[in-house]
């Protein structure tokens, strides 16, 4: 869930960045992302990979979900939206288990605000698509 309180370690280094897997169903015909990539409506956990913990193993990281694309967002841009990023080790990520983080800090927001933030995250990510999902 999206609770920021009483949860794992938070990311505060604004110069760091996170990777977000992009499902092809959340892309447009021209390859750009749509807001489905960052939907917060259900207070679902939005998985992120912390770049500083992935380091030079980016290609291997992409292989976690080879059928998906990857976008990169700066931590600073997320914190500017009054969101948080906290650690949430994911065993399914194997060697990248400890690189798994989730967005937090939006659970108290109205649906209207959640959509506004999701849309802004979409726009930020659209400027930083590292790998397009295979069509």
């Amino acid at each position: 869930m999206a609770e920021c309180v009483n949860s794992g370690a938070h990311v505060t280094d604004r110069t760091d960045s996170v990777f977000r897997f992009i499902h092809v169903g959340n892309t447009n015909g021209d390859g750009t992302l749509n807001s489905g990539s960052f939907s917060l409506r259900r207070d679902n956990a939005v998985s992120l990979g912390l770049a500083s913990r992935i380091g030079a193993r980016f290609e291997a990281f992409c292989e976690l979900k080879p059928e998906q694309g990857v976008a990169r967002l700066s931590v600073g841009s997320i914190l500017d939206l009054t969101l948080g990023i906290h650690s949430d080790p994911e065993p399914e990520w194997g060697e990248f288990m400890d690189a798994h983080f989730v967005l937090c800090g939006y659970e108290h927001l109205s649906n209207r605000k959640k959509e506004e933030i999701g849309r802004r995250l979409r726009d930020i990510a659209n400027g930083n698509i590292v790998k397009h999902p295979p069509q």
Binding site: G25, N34, S35, G36, S39, N44, K65, E115
Partner: protein, 216 residues
């Protein structure tokens, strides 16, 4: 479901289906679309439709189908793609029928996706949600033509199983989010705005107002 011919005048229909057009589609679809035509097995089914006459003349078979009848059929069979007869065979501009065909195809795909389709626990769209989205798509096609919008929406499946139309036109953006029978409309202007200027649950009958706002 309303047919395009219920929503557009005969002149608007002719304007929309600018000649000349070429139909691309499987023989099954085309024979269903134009039952007047006797199709020969193993014959390529690309047809030029001549709109310079009051009815649609399908070449090379020579069958004639009334424009209003044809328009209504297009709405039912938007999986058929319409394009200009350019050398490449590729359309030079995305017509409403082009993007509608693309979105119709995406909706079919969304309807086939199961729970956890994103491997992050997302829910599948219910048949009711997909049916509502299809109904709304048909209306958006007609309203888009009427408003002469040069842009078209994109579709996305959300983790809660909702389906969303995202539509940017000039300095405005509209979200139409469908979950079962409910429709949420959210508007932004200008595009750089973080905060939306409108967020309401609307009725189907209010869709045209949303498209009008987008085209203003």
């Amino acid at each position: 479901m309303k047919a395009l011919s219920d929503l557009l005048s005969h002149d608007e229909m002719k304007e929309t289906f600018q000649p000349p057009l070429v139909l691309f589609g499987s023989q099954t679809f085309l024979s269903d679309l134009f039952s007047e035509v006797t199709y020969r097995p193993n014959v390529t089914c690309n047809h030029v439709i001549d709109l310079s006459v009051s009815a649609l003349k399908i070449l090379p078979f020579g069958a004639v189908v009334g424009t209003e009848v044809c328009g209504a059929r297009f709405v039912r069979y938007l999986v058929v793609s319409l394009g200009s007869p350019a050398e490449t065979g590729e359309p030079t501009q995305l017509s409403p029928l082009h993007w509608a065909a693309r979105l119709r195809s995406e909706l079919i795909t969304f309807g086939q996706m199961h729970d956890n389709w994103d491997s992050e626990g997302a829910r599948a769209a219910t048949p009711e949600t997909v049916a509502s989205a299809n109904r709304i798509l048909e209306a958006l096609i007609a309203f888009s033509i009427k408003a002469r919008l040069a842009t078209y929406p994109s579709l996305t499946l959300l983790p809660d199983g909702a389906i969303r139309f995202e539509w940017i036109n000039r300095d405005r953006e509209l979200f139409l989010t469908i979950l079962n029978n409910s429709i949420e409309a959210q508007r932004w202007k200008p595009l750089s705005a973080l905060h939306s200027e409108y967020f309401e649950e609307i009725q189907f009958e209010q869709l045209q107002g949303e498209v009008s706002w987008l085209s203003a």
